[in-house]
């Protein structure tokens, strides 16, 4: 109990003293996971919408793959991305392993199926007659897709939150492809693990609290946007 209190105190001290290392780590967490979420948003929403609106052979298999992808363990993603990015691996020439860029790639791979799966069901859940109505009003196909995406914006924002929540709290893949390098690829989750193994439990708790606050802050902002019209 005392430890948790100490951790809380330390978190507040670290936050309010604007400790440069902790600020750097937090900002990097936000950047990496934010960018990964953004990329997965583009890929996931467009892919999910396309899957929802088209019919082609093999579609069921792709949807099954996306649904499986929603639950793929991040460490497995980390392992495969590491193998791809090794100097001796197929993408080794890019020199990406142990960089923040590698972490963005891994997190994008983790988040994209989540965003895609939720987008797919969001668009499919719209009333099918809506499509015909929009088309009957003379909309082009692009306009129709745009209107459908707008109509499904609430569940789509939920997809963003699920994707972001999944990657900012992720540790296995991040530490494998990022390497937890001080001042460079150390993020909140990897730093928390390291401080725990160093026996610096107060600092670890402090970092954990900062992570929670960040995740809450971003989700609160998104929820605010999501619920804006519903007031």
């Amino acid at each position: 109990m005392e430890l948790i209190f100490d951790g809380l105190l330390k978190a507040l001290t670290l936050i309010f003293s604007l400790d440069p290392e902790v600020m750097g780590i937090s900002l990097l967490s936000l950047k990496i996971s934010g960018l990964a979420t953004l990329i997965s948003l583009v890929l996931g929403v467009s892919g999910g919408t396309a899957l929802a609106l088209t019919r082609f052979p093999g579609r069921q298999i792709i949807i099954s793959l996306v649904n499986t992808g929603m639950g793929v363990p991040p460490v497995v993603v980390g392992l495969f991305i590491s193998i791809l990015l090794w100097r001796s691996g197929p993408l080794g020439a890019l020199g990406l392993l142990y960089t923040p860029a590698a972490m963005i790639i891994a997190q994008t791979v983790i988040a994209t199926p989540i965003v895609m799966g939720i987008s797919l069901s969001a668009i499919q859940n719209l009333n099918p007659r809506l499509r015909f109505q929009i088309l009957a009003l003379g909309a082009t196909r692009v306009q129709m897709v745009w209107l459908l995406v707008r109509e499904a914006k609430l569940p789509l924002l939920a997809a963003v939150m699920a994707g972001f929540g999944g990657v900012i709290s992720e540790i296995g893949a991040s530490i494998m492809v990022g390497g937890n390098i001080k001042g460079y690829s150390r993020v909140l989750t990897t730093a928390t693990v390291m401080e725990t193994s160093r026996g610096n439990f107060e600092t670890a708790i402090a970092l954990g609290i900062i992570l929670l606050v960040l995740a809450f802050g971003v989700n609160a902002a998104l929820t605010f946007i999501q619920q804006w019209e519903k007031r």
């Binding site: 950047k31 934010g34 001796s88 020199g95 390291m194 193994s197 026996g199 946007i225």
Partner: protein
């Protein structure tokens, strides 16, 4: 809707506005694969800034067990290693994966366990004797089992004791680093083998005591090894050489000599540059 979309775009754009520091110029990067003990003790936090300032290299430290560090070296995924697993290092050198293996420093291993010492190992002259007592009394022993230097030392000690602990009920394998294994041992009231540095740096959170120490067999010797550029043309040979030289330089050795003295009452490592392994501990 427009306002919300704008807000969302602004939020995301503000994230993008901080460019993520991508790959720095490749030749100024140096990948150091090392053991968790050098990172967890905080020694590298002291040494690396000095090295980076001197040479302009940016060191990417990957803290893993000695075994994994050498596996990275064998694949050319690291440029330079700082490890403490002499038997495995010899194999590594024989396979021509490394060049320039130099003695850097040592500390020692200690057998730690619950202060109540249920197996009555305290004061045993030989660690192998203590291990025998642990196995005979069936007291819990925690093994790292992660192919680290500590793990391979532990296995060698079991061999000396003539015991095959694998599969025994009292022998549990954590698969974790040193710090975490010490925490597990403390919580479960078990024995474990630890390097003194990590034990001292974590002592305040543990209910464990040093029970066996001082045997010459318990020396924990660290070497720096450059990965062989002839085998892996992609390794940063120049950077590895610079780091290799730095670790045995007077400045680094002086930092090692005093590191930890203030905080733990005794230095965590003894600098050994230029010495021979056989001379240590005498």
């Amino acid at each position: 809707m427009k306002k919300q979309a704008m807000a969302l775009v602004l939020l995301l754009a503000s994230l993008l506005a901080f460019p993520v520091g991508g790959a720095l110029a490749a030749e100024k990067n140096l990948i150091l694969a090392t053991t968790t003990s050098t990172q967890d003790s905080g020694l590298l936090d002291l040494l690396l800034p000095a090295f980076e300032k001197d040479t302009g290299y940016f060191v990417k430290t990957i803290a893993v067990g000695s075994g994994q560090a050498m596996a990275m070296g064998e694949k050319g995924e690291a440029d330079v290693l700082l490890v403490h697993s002499p038997a495995a290092e010899k194999k590594f050198m024989e396979g021509e994966f490394g060049v320039d293996r130099k003695l850097v420093m040592h500390n020692d291993f200690v057998l730690v366990g619950p202060p109540s010492d249920p197996a009555k190992v305290s004061g045993a002259k030989l660690t192998a004797e203590a291990l025998k007592k642990i196995s005979e009394s069936g007291s819990l022993f925690l093994s790292r089992s992660d192919k680290s230097g500590t793990h391979s030392k532990e296995l060698a000690l079991w061999k000396v004791a003539g015991i095959a602990p694998d599969g025994q009920k009292w022998y549990q394998q954590t698969g974790l680093g040193m710090g975490q294994t010490l925490s597990v041992a403390s919580e479960k009231e078990g024995y474990t083998l630890a390097d003194r540095g990590t034990f001292l740096s974590m002592k305040k959170n543990l209910s464990l005591a040093v029970l066996v120490e001082g045997e010459s067999n318990l020396l924990n010797v660290y070497h720096v090894i450059s990965v062989n550029p002839a085998k892996w043309p992609k390794v940063n040979a120049e950077g590895a050489k610079a780091f290799n030289d730095f670790m045995v330089s007077g400045g680094a050795q002086e930092m090692i000599k005093t590191f930890g003295a203030e905080k733990y009452g005794q230095p965590l490592f003894t600098p050994d540059a230029g010495k021979k392994v056989e001379e240590l501990g005498k």
